[in-house]
């Protein structure tokens, strides 16, 4: 296929992951996966000030840790890590059971956009980053444990860090 032909190729619609993953799990004989479904969107909180004056927080799933920290484990891990936002990018690691880690281990920015965020701070487009980014595993099968154990701790950390906005980067 020539480049011109390729550029004309029609885009496929976004993948519907829920039916594909549900079919795979039931095809393998596992119980039906309980997807989170909200009837209403989360409560709307207006942004208080422009981004260039804001302190931005980063919360990422994807099993990211910094060298020297304990790695995540693969079964319903409801712990989190606080990673200083001035961490050296080469010190960041990724470990996970549910996605292909090849590119994340080659360049962590594909799941933890720390270099882009630091560049935007340096260029004055973001006011500043919070002192820590928070990372977690995701892939936790108990919504109750996420709601009762993990989220309240993360909310507390965000309040203590006096963040204006928080960017969530799931995998």
């Amino acid at each position: 296929m020539t480049g011109a032909d390729a550029s004309l190729q029609q885009r496929q619609r976004p993948i519907d992951y829920i039916p594909r993953i549900t079919a795979q799990y039931s095809g393998l004989g596992y119980g039906e996966y309980q997807w989170l479904h909200s009837d209403e969107p989360s409560e709307w909180t207006p942004v208080q000030r422009p981004l260039r004056e804001s302190r931005l927080g980063l919360i990422a799933t994807g099993g990211i840790y910094a060298s020297g920290q304990t790695a995540f484990h693969y079964k319903d891990d409801t712990t989190y890590r606080a990673i200083p936002t001035d961490v050296g990018t080469p010190d960041l690691r990724a470990t996970h059971f549910a996605y292909d880690l090849t590119d994340a281990r080659d360049d962590i920015n594909v799941v933890f956009p720390i270099d882009a965020l630091r560049t935007l701070v340096a260029q004055g487009e973001i006011g500043e980053l919070g002192p820590s980014a928070y990372t977690l595993m995701g892939g936790i099968y108990s919504m109750r444990r996420v709601r009762e154990e993990l989220i309240p701790q993360l909310v507390q950390r965000c309040l203590e860090d006096e963040l204006d906005v928080v960017l969530l980067v799931p995998v």
Binding site: I18, T102, A116
Partner: protein, 131 residues
């Protein structure tokens, strides 16, 4: 940010930004800082431009010149191509990783560094772990 539009829509965040890349690339492409910076600028702009609860901004970047990568995502495996294939007939390979309950380090050096770091004291950054 999201690379799984239907999962994010079902969860219903107040604001979201969708990037049509394969899972494991929520914020960009490896070693492409210019693209990743553009993605981040467009993403953060949504804090100031989205006004309706539940709205999702679609970014226009494309993973490759074709979308053929989508055909193989969570798709049943073609059987009968390999002589003597005696796999079960579900059509799916079980490629899920064992759910270990011990830390899974990327490198041996990380395990040693973590042990050295945590010897004899509680760590304030690996929250929720009992030592």
């Amino acid at each position: 940010m999201s690379s799984a539009r239907d999962i994010t829509r079902a969860a219903g965040p107040a604001r979201s930004v969708y990037l049509d890349f394969p899972l494991g690339h929520t914020s960009g492409r490896p070693h492409d800082p210019e693209l990743n910076l553009t993605i981040m600028r467009e993403t953060l702009a949504a804090f100031e431009t989205l006004t309706e609860p539940g709205s999702m901004l679609h970014l226009n970047h494309r993973w490759s010149s074709t979308d053929n990568w989508k055909d193989k995502v969570f798709a049943p495996v073609e059987r009968g191509e390999v002589a003597g294939d005696s796999s079960p007939s579900s059509g799916y390979d079980d490629d899920r990783v064992l759910r270990h309950e011990t830390p899974q380090y990327q490198t041996e050096e990380d395990a040693a560094a973590a042990h050295a770091e945590h010897e004899g004291e509680d760590c304030l950054v690996c929250a929720g772990i009992d030592y």
